[in-house]
Symmetry: C2
Subunit: 378 residues, 2 copies
């Protein structure tokens, strides 16, 4: 048995002993290494008060069997040091705890063809489970557009925004990563069994929880740090004032990753949490994929052009013509001499300009004089 | 004839000679004073190349008659030095030109009972003429809520957002100020004749243009600086990427006043300009009147409380109960001993907590074990 395999077994075992994101475990692993920590505990040697709590679970462990069973289900366990390890997760070790969760995961159980070390160029798209159709449409569209630029979409496979994000990415033929709060062999929510199967065939489903583990509230909180930790930036699309998505947003901020929010109607409760993030400066407002790519600096080509209105005839006028046009009344017609006075130009010049402007359809003349046309008013 | 009356006449006359916001005129007025500048021009003495342009208009001036005629229409001309002068406008003199408009107005023609020196505590609510019903609703509601806190609402009496803002303020019985790009005796747009009459009876209609003057594009641009200059801050509710409201926003920024924007669906073109202002950091996102009052610091009482979700039963749990609750599965039930292991607590303590949680309706038990209730999952 080589060191790496021993390390892997220890990490499987420690994962079974503690709850994900237990800061005591990750601190001890940083200090002693996984193998030594597991050895100590297996020898009933207490470490940081951990032994008491894990004693009951210690007896039931068989990490080798866990790995074998997982392998037969097409599930691999990726740990630090593996080629496939997504090293951006290591930053979680330097990140303050949130709701008593902290630290990089001991390892990630993964099912699916996408390799975890290849998801560095990725964004998380998260939001409310009770999304509106507006929110779901925007999340799906945004996800489809970013995967076209080879950026992967990470989410949590929940109802609402998560689902829309995964589906948008898959529809555009791009990679998508579902991070679960239960084993990757389980479908939670059950209604997403097909979606999770499809992601397992075309993207990758990951979890720090061993196969078979059930979701708990604590595990959802721990899971959110993995979503934030894998992604270069997170986009929140609809989140009520008290929403799990804001927990992911919080992790994103702690990790100094890019936090973005999609606004919505101020009359829509599912947008209130996002508006708060933008208002307080925690998140940057984004309205489309181009802006997201610009924020995360995905690539030089992503530099986003500010939307411009189509150029108007007015933009191409000579200074004199523009000056005269500005003096033409909007509604009640005026004679050329009055327009000339208003514009501060001579009468001959004004008449010439009015003819030019009329030719461009910007002004119209009647027996009462000149005024702007519908085009000129636009 | 006293100095003040002479100054008033000179300002009426100069207003007739140049276009509003002509930076040459306001510079010369700052340098020479209005009376002297007008005298020089009347004596055909050129000042800054102005004479050539204004010669045609000089012949037609009769400022005394202008004032008399205005007074008979219930219109007053308020100038710097008057008690009623809104001195916040003087800051326009220190503000860089925008689209070749600049400077404080020579004076303001006003019609209506609200005194201009009393509109310091005010916001401008501006936006698209082609507003959506969402935008109009939000503008009206916002305006009604701020006037309840004795903050006046300034706008431009145009279709769309302007109209909704004035109406919201009037409906709540508050002061509202319409700043026009034509004489205050005119109704532009004509469809707003009733609205403008009503504002003239309960608020105030103002313009730097003399009665009778027609609106031109240039005058709209000049007008926007007055709206921004009167208000403590401006709120943009819906503005397409190329909208006049963004011109007012620009002035607000130049004046270092508070610029705010109300977001909307990213799929709505009339919100795109507002989103751009927020995204670039030019404007603060606001969603309701309380936030607007907080931004402009209207009064101590305006300090806005962050919206919070209602407190949940979960928030009042003991640490132990919370720990156990976090270990209860969301869907597939688990036995008490498994929950105790997950939670890292003893079996006896876990059973006691489960009973407590069950009493609070957070968990439910069946023959298969414990899981979260609908309330616990919420």
């Amino acid at each position: 048995m080589n060191d790496s395999h021993e390390d892997r077994l220890a990490r499987v075992a420690l994962g079974r002993l503690g709850e994900p994101g237990d800061p005591r475990v990750s601190n001890l692993v940083s200090e002693l290494g996984a193998t030594r920590l597991y050895d100590h505990l297996a020898q009933q040697r207490d470490e940081g008060g951990l032994l008491d709590e894990v004693a009951a679970r210690l007896a039931t462990l068989d990490p080798e069997a866990d790995l074998d069973r997982a392998a037969r289900q097409g599930i691999r366990f990726v740990i630090p040091g593996d080629d496939e390890w997504p090293s951006q997760l290591d930053e979680l070790d330097y990140c303050e705890a949130l709701q008593d969760r902290a630290g990089a995961p001991l390892g990630l159980w993964a099912r699916g063809p996408v390799r975890l070390n290849e998801v560095g160029n990725s964004i998380a798209v998260v939001g409310s489970r009770s999304a509106t159709s507006y929110g779901a449409d925007v999340a799906g569209e945004l996800s489809a557009r970013v995967v076209e630029k080879k950026v992967s979409v990470i989410s949590g496979a929940a109802f609402g925004i998560d689902q829309a994000a995964h589906r948008g990415a898959l529809a555009a033929g791009g990679g998508t990563i579902a991070v679960l709060a239960c084993g990757v062999d389980r479908a939670y929510p059950a209604a997403h069994a097909d979606l999770l199967r499809y992601i397992g065939e075309h993207g990758v489903v990951v979890s720090e929880l061993a196969p078979g583990c059930a979701p708990t509230r604590l595990r959802f909180l721990a899971r959110n740090r993995i979503i934030a930790g894998l992604a270069r930036g997170s986009v929140v699309v609809e989140a009520a004032v008290r929403s799990g998505a804001l927990n992911t947003a919080n992790w994103t901020g702690r990790l100094n990753r890019f936090l973005m929010g999609v606004p919505g109607p101020v009359t829509s409760a599912p947008s209130a949490g996002v508006h708060q993030l933008i208002r307080t400066g925690a998140a940057t407002l984004v309205t489309q994929a181009g802006e997201v790519l610009e924020v995360i600096g995905a690539s030089g080509e992503a530099l986003f052009e500010m939307p411009k209105a189509p150029e108007k005839a007015r933009d191409r006028l000579s200074t004199r013509d523009a000056q005269v046009l500005d003096a033409v009344p909007v509604s009640k017609p005026a004679q050329a001499d009055s327009i000339a006075r208003t514009a501060g130009v001579g009468l001959v010049g004004a008449r010439r300009s009015l003819d030019n402007l009329s030719g461009m359809g910007l002004v119209e003349v009647s027996q009462h004089g000149w005024r702007l046309s519908a085009v000129g008013r636009a």
